[in-house]
Amino acid sequence: MDFHLYMAQRLSALVMAPLVLGHIAVMIYAVQGGLTAAEILSRTQGSLLWFLFYGLFVVAVSLHAAIGLRTVAQEWLGLRGVALSALALVTGLGLFALGAQAVWAVTFA
């Protein structure tokens, strides 16, 4: 793996570590007594804090998952060259698009 991909992988991981802990904490708290769309939206809608929290999460996870799946595809599927780069790009952009849409839906949409 290229040094820059390695750095991006490690740095995005470090960004996500506190976000993951926060996310799990919120889940443990929120899941008590069941979930509803209204309950989630009442917490997140119009909140800049949650927008930044999950917005940063989506950016980091798109990068991290794209690099991770690229490595797996290289080692386990034997993908190389353009196919490998294309897979990483599609994974990263796809996750970012879906994630950004979801964050927007629960905050400012």
């Binding site: 793996m1 290229d2 040094f3 991909l5 390695y6 750095m7 490690r10 290289q74 080692e75 386990w76």
Partner: protein, 239 residues
């Protein structure tokens, strides 16, 4: 007395390998290399294998024994199997030449690729640089210099198996010992070489190298050291 070992050997060359079974007399004290030598001397003189020193110094006799890469001259038969059965194959992750002989060229080419070779820092007219054995860098280098180039780590590594460009544990460990050697004069060259495609950053720290190194070295630790130094250099900027 009269007991036999059932020994299955992977025979043949590239693209045409098959297993062949031999009955070999069991001894009280018997290494895997003894078994292979017995087959070659008493059962089938066409069996090809490699060895030299027989005392764990030359690194030429490594083979895959019951699925595990080992130095065969210092591996007792009783250590690898409770039952009187062993399977012997050439090292993984290297092209086979014939029978138990693996082509070591890719392995050693990667030592060069990792710049795992001495870069002189002084000419013969200058005095030899004094080395303090207590120095922290020297002690770190000392941890890795007893490598005998047997390629057991290289055969054990799944990252090598999945990524043919990966330089592998042995070459990277040697690069790390040179990086910690005051007498080496091209530390930036080494860091550049281990930062490219297939460099130290491809390692996943699964530790099969350290697990199986017959000399009980710790290539995984050395590779982590290379990662740390390349990251440190990136944050500091090049001098």
């Amino acid at each position: 007395m009269g007991d036999k070992l059932k020994v299955t050997v992977r025979r043949g060359g590239p693209g045409a390998q098959h297993d062949q079974t031999y009955a070999v007399p069991a001894e009280d004290n018997q290494t895997v290399l003894d078994v292979v030598s017995w087959i070659q001397q008493y059962a089938d003189p066409t069996l090809s294998y490699r060895f030299a020193c027989r005392v764990g110094m030359c690194g030429s006799c490594a083979m895959t024994v019951n699925g595990v890469p080992r130095w065969t001259c210092r591996t007792h038969v009783r250590k690898v199997s409770e039952r009187p059965e062993i399977h012997i194959a050439p090292l993984r992750n290297l092209p086979v030449i014939k029978d138990l002989v693996a082509d070591m060229d890719p392995f050693f080419d990667k030592w060069i690729g990792a710049e795992a070779l001495h870069h002189p820092s002084r000419s013969r007219e200058e005095a030899i640089a004094p080395i303090d054995p207590q120095d922290a860098a020297r002690q770190e280098a000392d941890l890795g210099i007893e490598c005998i180039n047997c390629a057991v780590c290289y055969a054990a590594c799944d990252t090598v198996a999945g990524n043919p460009d990966y330089l592998g544990p042995a070459a990277l460990q040697r690069a790390w010992t040179l990086l910690n050697d005051a007498k080496d004069g091209a530390h930036d060259t080494i860091l550049d070489a281990v930062s490219g495609t297939g460099g130290c950053h491809a390692c996943h720290s699964m530790g099969s190298c350290t697990q199986h190194c017959p000399n009980e070295l710790d290539p995984m630790r050395a590779i982590a050291g290379l990662k740390r130094d390349t990251v440190r250099r990136a944050f500091r900027g090049r001098r």
